[in-house]
Amino acid sequence: MALTFKHGIHPDYYKELTAAKKIEKALLPKKVAIPLQQHLGAPCQPLVKKGDAVLEGQKIGEANTFVTSPVHSTINGKVKEIEKHPHPVGGKVMSIIIEGDGTQKEWGNGSIGLDIEKITIEEIRAKIKDAGIVGLGGAAFPTVVKLTPPKDKKIDAVILNGCECEPYLTSDHRLMLEEPEKILWGMKAIMKVLNVNDGYIGIEKNKPDAIDALENAKKSIIPNLKIIALETKYPQGAEKMLIKAILNRKVPVGKLPMDVGVVVQNVGTAKAVYDAIKYDKPLIERVVTISGNGINEQKNLMVRIGTSFDDVLNQCGGMKKDSEKLVIMGGPMMGIAQTNLEAPVIKGTSGITVLAGDAIRPSDYKQCIKCGGCVEACPVNLMPYRLTDYARFNRPDEFKAWGGLSCIECGCCSFECPSNRPLVQWLRVGKLRVREAEKGSSK
């Protein structure tokens, strides 16, 4: 039996649509929109003004706090505007709009590898910070913050997350197949920063080729790295589930992985760390899986940050005609539905899933029949059907007492619900109401 966690679900994965497709370079966009906030933490302030010429890789926004991450221009060109622009997470966000001049920079090639002994920990941290690297799994937490744990937290293990448990997405899978050495060198740098000897890569066993590729590549880079085949089950890639499966440690309620001595990084993040150290290349592009039944050609594309969804979808033959479409940033379990396709690809965009016709979940729902399917599915052991009642009828105290704040919004409950109830949405409402109630009482 492969390692795993308790509960969870087995959705259809649809990985075969793109798993065998090599990562292609997307066309150089004529125009990009770089949001000043693409990460968890403080938004950046622009470092350029309208009309300035900018170069690919030039830092164009940063903030003066610890938890933040700078942004860079992803093309050569000119700042056309600094304005509010549609953001894929919702609403509009101050963004730097750059018009390209059609040229691009070469980031250097040659042999793969780092002179890891020569670089100091401080240098690595500085490069990661300067490169604007954030967690590429989707949450976009600034990487350097994770790599700078408080003194009292002793980190003894690093886990690279190669689970990619979201249906449809194959960007991490392809990266593990095509760039295993770069991922491993990045991992080596991360382990050096944290002064950790125990490194793991967790991969669901539906990607045996990725496991093989990393096993082969690790021999000359990190021989003692453990590559762990995990059961294919959603949400295996959730940090808490991954740590439980690999190390059998449970992150306490309300705490972080570092509280149990673990740092988890996505495999794509490790590759970005390598690029930053080796080439001083900031995080200006990433692999994006474009998939779903609503797009004409499913692909894995290396896309520059700031490229609009429309641009990306047009390079994939466009969307299918004749039916309603649901365009999701990310996968169908946790991804965010898009309202405006002018929104740009950001650092956390692991995929664009386009669903059409019958693949779109209907919006009507029925009453709860107490089947317990949501309880059985919940990886953090909540009783979603009960919590959602507390949320809807505005009883924040009970919502909190029944553990509602531990919800990771993975979507398992709603996925299982035979009455099609939007449980996750109500759970979000419940969390919000707890926060509001707490704010109200502290006044």
């Binding site: 959705p11 249906p167 808490k240 449970k250 992150v251 306490p252 309620v253 705490k255 509280d259 149990v260 429309d310 047009n314 969307m319 005609k321 309603e324 479409k325 649901l326 365009v327 999701i328 169908p332 379990m333 946790m334 539905a337 898009q338 309202t339 405006n340 396709l341 899933t353 779109i360 979940r361 919006s363 029925k366 009453q367 709860c368 029949i369 107490k370 089947c371 317990g372 309880v375 059985e376 990886p379 953090v380 052991n381 909540l382 009783m383 059907y385 009960r386 553990g403 531990s406 979507g411 709603s414 996925f415 299982e416 619900c417 035979p418 009455s419 099609n420 939007p422 996750v424 949405q425």
Partner: protein, 342 residues
């Protein structure tokens, strides 16, 4: 907040130029589901009840068919009437009223009058389900509540049993009144033990649908295969009955029946696969489900062997239905990471 917002094309607006799309659907994650629905589950349950229904007609003939039709039609009409009066959406075709009808019929004796069966159906749906607000809100299994009503209202008719046709034919007549295997075991001196094989295939007197363990198991396995029931509930219930029955059997094998008899006789099999597993009226937590089946099984044995009635399946389940909300409240699973020290 529950509505999907549909982004219709705004042809005149200059701001939104979205050349490649006509409409974008926007919803909250997850955007994915199993595709199961309540009617789908209910229709699978109806399908799973077919073998037991067929067996009832095979063993008890036209009477069984008429009872079944009466109960199903009465249940559906009651549901329709109440929903119409309350101006609620009509859900008679979601299958749950049909299931209540079939289940109620299967628990009745073959010669039970049709008007009484219809009355039982009205009570089952009206008092057992709709009065609480309909499917999902009911506390008791509607079919069992209907039967409990009939037990109280027509105590004689509901305990007047007849031989299955397969046996009656030997006597050359249509129907012979007879005692059920449980009654033979309990009230007849010296006690008469019905052979296990007869119990398994259903060639015994009893409620029309409870006699054939084989047909019931067939349907139950289908539901398990579809993933609509777990192993824990039916097997836990039968296991608990067998275990507590076995304790009595150990103490006095002359007086008490063996465990296998317990689970094959009476309504144990039907209760295990189709009533204990009722989603609405059983606990939602894993620990709660264990409590439900173990205590219910214990109650069956106590009522059968020490109580005044020959059969205890109905009351065991109804009693546990009543405390299911309480069980849910007190068996909250430990939240992931709760109580762990960092």
């Amino acid at each position: 907040m529950d509505e999907k917002i549909q982004n219709k094309p705004q042809e005149k607006s200059k701001e939104t130029t979205q050349p490649t799309i006509d409409r974008l659907v926007v919803s909250s994650s997850p955007h994915f589901s199993t595709g199961d629905s309540v009617p789908k589950i209910m229709h699978a349950v109806i399908l799973a009840l077919l073998p037991a229904s067929a067996a009832s007609i095979y063993f008890f003939g036209l009477n069984a068919l008429l009872l079944g039709l009466t109960c199903v039609i009465a249940c559906m009409l009651t549901e329709y009437a109440i929903q119409k009066i309350r101006r609620k959406p009509i859900t008679v075709w979601d299958g749950s009223a049909i299931i209540t009808g079939i289940l109620l019929a299967l628990t009745l004796p073959p010669a039970f009058p049709l008007y009484a069966a219809a009355l039982g159906s009205i009570v089952a749906i009206g008092l057992g389900k709709q009065i609480f607000g309909g499917l999902g809100y009911n506390i008791f299994n509607p079919a069992l509540l209907g039967r409990a009503f009939l037990q109280a209202t027509y105590p004689v008719m509901i305990t007047t049993w007849s031989e299955p046709l397969t046996k009656a034919a030997k006597h050359g007549i249509d129907a012979v009144s007879a005692a059920t295997p449980l009654a033979l075991m309990k009230f007849v001196e010296p006690k008469v033990m019905t052979p296990h094989l007869d119990l398994f295939f259903g060639n015994v007197a009893g409620s029309i649908g409870e006699t054939s363990a084989f047909a019931i198991i067939l349907g139950g396995l289908y539901l398990r295969y579809k993933g609509y029931i777990n192993w824990k509930m039916p097997l836990g219930y039968l296991g608990s009955i067998a275990f507590f029955g076995w304790l009595f059997y150990l103490a006095n094998p002359q007086k008490y029946p063996d465990p296998l008899f317990h689970i094959l006789a009476g309504g144990a099999m039907l209760g295990a696969w189709f009533m204990v597993t009722d989603m609405v009226t059983s606990p939602t937590t894993s620990v709660g489900q264990w409590i439900f089946v173990v205590v219910a099984g214990f109650l069956v044995v106590i009522i059968r062997l020490l109580g005044g009635l020959p059969e205890g399946v109905m009351y065991s389940i109804l009693l546990m239905n009543a405390i299911t909300p309480l069980i849910n409240r007190h068996t909250k699973p430990k939240v992931f990471g709760e109580g762990n020290q960092s």
